[in-house]
Symmetry: C2
Subunit: 84 residues, 2 copies
């Protein structure tokens, strides 16, 4: 099973990398792009054969412990076939 974990900087945290990209886009003529924020898209291939609740708990724990920095980032777990 393939699961995606979206890791984003919290809204209150400045994103200088995103700001730089936004300015570069502006210089290239993409003036309609007002803001850019850059997060991580972490895709996990998970071994099947477990119940969904257990898998969800495990992925959430991994996201909290290793995939994100809870002080600065939020994460969102996306399962296959789920609307974003």
């Amino acid at each position: 099973m393939r699961v995606a974990v979206k890791v984003r900087l919290k809204r209150s945290i400045l994103d200088p990398q995103g700001k730089t990209v936004q300015q570069a886009l502006q210089h290239l003529g993409f003036e309609q792009i007002r803001e850019v924020r850059i997060g991580k898209l972490i895709e996990l291939e998970i071994e099947e054969g477990q119940n969904r609740a257990e898998t969800l708990r495990m992925i959430e724990e991994a996201s909290r412990k290793l995939l994100s920095n809870p002080v600065m980032e939020d994460f969102e777990i996306e399962y296959p076939g789920e609307t974003p």
Copy 2:
């Protein structure tokens, strides 16, 4: 309008960062996670008031020219209210 651009390494390209994370997860006991690949989640805030086709074309051009490296990466554009 908020649009997300998912940038992933092409399948044929090794992802050492993802491999390292996968090994770290394994050491922490997350043995069901078989593979990890790390991409970028670029979120754009776009000024409204244009037709959708024009906006799509503009975002695709920005993704190709600046947000991704076409040699090593693929990108996918996600519009609000769209199934992934």
